[in-house]
């Protein structure tokens, strides 16, 4: 198996699109592979016939392992190593042989192993979906797990897929009356990778954080004016991304990675923005922010966020970030500390815009729009003073945008 993304080390075969004996053209989709980020089409680079599937659906395969044999139709492949990879569920049975000794009835085990795989393609067995709805969802990249069916027995039909809007991550309490129950939820490949990467980050990078309060009066009025004159609403995130990029140009150490023997200082500013998805989060990247204008950044962000919510990001669109911004302001969070997105040196946590009474240098009291920024830093690269200088410059740029041009 080839790596489908730069960080992919292994993948799970979600579904085979071809079966043994099918003719294969170069570029044909052979199977769906669940990677660390998303589920992707695996295209064939060779032509011929699919002679044997080595890795069946549900099996975990490392990059570089054989998943199938493609050759000429009728070719003798008995000489080739083609040991079938075992699906995870069966592996478990072998890895824990002591389980078997607890079973009094040997038939029980065979019943267990005979059970069908829990999921088939994009949907667990037993939950109905019309063929049309299944195809529409596949074409649009919609995960059927997140679609509610309106047909009999909850069958998902055309209008459910048409009327589907990507779920806004609902982190609020469920509606009253929803029954609580014990539930064991299998961990998706994506959730597992997020857990692993962030634990590694948290335990290996010594985190500390610095906070600063920013007064946004100038920026907000400038944005209002710009939005009024152009008719196109530019998001506040685009402004934050641009000013952060400019600050990173001035403080290149913050735009870097710890590589144990060396520090990699990046020649471009590629800013990742954390976007929540139902089954985790993903960080689409706006590349080359130092050379782009705010309008261009806003355009890129809108496109990337849209794709991220529909699970349609291509690997190059979520990889290669040099710095990450996480904004929970829209959810009413005033201030928080984010965990660094490895291998980057820092992450900026952006809070809610809050009106606050502030006393100025003339001791006059006035109400201002303020926002808390918290920078989490990897102490292996960034000492407190370096980060503080970065944050102080960022505050200056956001409060007096003209400073960014100096």
């Amino acid at each position: 198996m080839l790596a489908l993304s730069p960080t992919m080390e292994s993948g799970k075969i979600a579904q085979w699109s071809k079966k043994e004996g099918d003719p294969i053209e170069s570029g044909d989709v052979l199977c769906q592979v669940e990677t660390d980020k998303t589920t992707m089409d695996y295209e064939s680079t060779s032509e011929g016939a699919l002679l044997k599937i080595i890795a069946p659906e549900g099996s975990e395969v490392n990059v570089g392992d054989n998943i199938a044999i493609i050759g000429e139709k009728g070719e003798d492949i008995s000489e080739l190593p083609s040991e079938t990879v075992q699906p995870e569920s069966e592996k478990k049975e072998i890895a824990e042989p002591e389980q078997a000794t607890h079973q009094k009835n040997p038939q029980e085990k065979s019943i267990l192993t005979a059970q069908p795989a829990e999921s088939e393609g994009n949907f667990p067995r037993g939950v109905p979906v019309s063929p049309l709805a299944r195809k529409m969802a596949a074409d649009k990249g919609i995960d059927l797990h997140s679609v509610k069916g309106s047909g009999p027995r909850g069958r998902i039909v055309k209008k459910d897929v048409e009327g589907y809007s990507p779920p806004q991550p609902n982190l609020h309490a469920p509606p009253r009356g929803a029954a609580l129950r014990d539930e064991i939820i299998p961990v998706s490949e994506k959730r597992r990778v997020i857990a692993q990467r962030l634990s590694n980050s948290f335990y290996s990078a010594p985190h500390y954080s610095l906070s600063v309060e920013v007064v946004l009066e100038t920026l907000l009025s400038a944005r209002t004016r710009i939005n009024k004159s152009s008719g196109e609403k530019i998001s506040l995130n685009a402004f934050i991304v641009k000013f952060t990029a400019q600050t990173l140009v001035n403080h290149p150490m913050v735009n870097s990675s710890w590589e144990y023997e060396t520090i990699h200082r990046y020649g471009t500013v590629d800013i990742a923005l954390a976007v929540a998805q139902p089954d985790g989060l993903i960080t689409p990247v706006v590349h080359d922010c130092e050379t782009k204008g705010i309008r261009q950044i806003d355009h890129d962000l809108k496109e990337l966020i849209g794709k991220a919510r529909e699970n349609r990001l291509a690997p190059e669109e979520y990889s290669g970030g040099t710095f990450t911004i996480s904004n929970l302001g829209s959810m009413g969070i005033r201030e928080f500390t984010a965990i660094i997105n490895p291998p980057q040196a820092a992450i900026l946590a952006v809070g809610e815009i809050v009106k606050k009474p502030l006393v100025d240098e003339n001791n006059d009291l006035a109400v201002h729009n303020t926002m808390m920024l918290t920078l989490s830093c990897d102490h292996r690269i960034l000492d407190g003073a370096v980060s503080a200088a970065f944050l102080s410059d960022l505050k200056k740029f956001l409060e007096y945008p003209i400073e960014a041009l100096l």
Binding site: S130, P131, L132, R134, K135, S150, G151, R155, V157, K158
Partner: protein
């Protein structure tokens, strides 16, 4: 354009063709002196004489076999069965001879014959004489099977049937002989294998043929009042079948109700259901519905007789089910 009854339209087709080609003969019970059991052949004996319009004994297997033999010998017979219920007596002539003669003879003999007569449920005729038998004929390769639903189509399709060099089973619904519709005097042909779109719509496809087209159109009108725009397709020809029109419509509406007044098991309707599931699988938003006659012999009691057949109400309910409204 003149309003004509179905029996007049059929008579016009035979008359025009017999005038055009002296090899065309008509034979069957009471087709000559009595002018036809349903008066379809009225006046043809006077016009073409007893050598071309021939009364036969009550012997379906015999005169059907004569028709097959006449066709093999170079004539173009039209065999009228008093009803398809009696034609069951002649099924071996159709199944074993007419349908397979060209194949069995290595192409040396064709059977350019038309076998026609009333088919389908009628009224007060009870179990043996009130049944829709199209699936029997559509089942065997080598036959063309057609069943028009309007006088206009009946004339154009019967002329096509008479000119066809293969055996054609031409099914006329018994209750339709008196139905009227516009039929032009001018010559026209309706080719086989072309369905007619009776009403355009986007929400659900209603597929049918022959007499049920009237209840289908009635159902479509009622559905419109509920805001459901049904596309109504009259198949007209069962073999060859206009698969293209069926698939195009189902791919557009994503839902389909098939109406076939035969019994549900192994019928033309159930076969089309399979074709749709195979060729439109990724376009279906709901299971394909089949409105057929109930799977019982036709009752004599009139209330039960009507209840056993497809009705506008049954079609409406099936259409609602495909839209998940019922």
């Amino acid at each position: 354009m003149a309003e004509k009854s179905m029996r007049e339209a059929l008579r016009m087709a035979m008359d025009e063709e017999m005038a055009r080609d002296k090899n065309i003969i008509l034979l069957g019970e009471e087709v000559a002196q009595y002018n036809g059991a349903y008066k379809v052949s009225q006046g043809l004996l006077d016009k073409y004489g007893p050598e071309r319009v021939i009364d036969t004994p009550i012997s379906e297997e015999g005169f059907t076999g004569v028709g097959v033999g006449a066709a093999m010998a170079g004539l173009r017979p039209i065999v009228e069965w008093m009803t398809f219920n009696f034609a069951l007596m002649a099924i071996d002539q159709i199944y074993s001879n007419a349908s397979k003669m060209r194949y069995m003879s290595g192409g040396q003999f064709g059977v350019p014959a038309v076998f026609r007569g009333p088919n389908g449920p009628a009224e007060y005729l009870a179990a043996q004489h009130s049944q829709a038998l199209q699936s029997i004929y559509a089942h065997v390769p080598g036959l063309k099977v057609v069943s028009p639903s309007t006088p206009y189509d009946a004339k154009g399709m019967l002329k096509s049937a008479i000119r066809d060099d293969n055996p054609v089973i031409f099914m006329e619904a018994e209750l339709m002989y008196g139905w009227k519709g516009e039929v032009p005097d001018k010559e026209y042909l309706i080719p086989f294998g072309e369905a007619a779109v009776k009403q355009k719509g986007n929400d659900v496809t209603l597929l049918g043929f022959s007499k049920p087209m009237s209840v289908i159109l009635e159902a479509a009108g009622e559905l419109t009042k509920e805001g459901i725009n049904a596309e109504v397709i009259d198949l007209r020809s069962l073999r060859p079948l206009d698969e293209h029109s069926i698939y195009a419509s189902v791919r557009k509406t994503n839902r389909c109700v098939i109406i076939d007044e035969a019994w549900p098991f192994a019928s033309v309707g159930s076969h089309i259901g399979w074709l749709i599931s195979k060729n439109c699988f990724d376009f279906l938003d709901a299971p394909v519905e089949l409105v057929s006659s109930e799977d019982v012999p036709m009752p004599y009691n009139h209330t039960l007789e009507l209840a056993a057949q497809p009705s506008a109400e049954k079609i409406i309910r099936a259409a609602r089910r495909t839209l998940y409204r019922e």
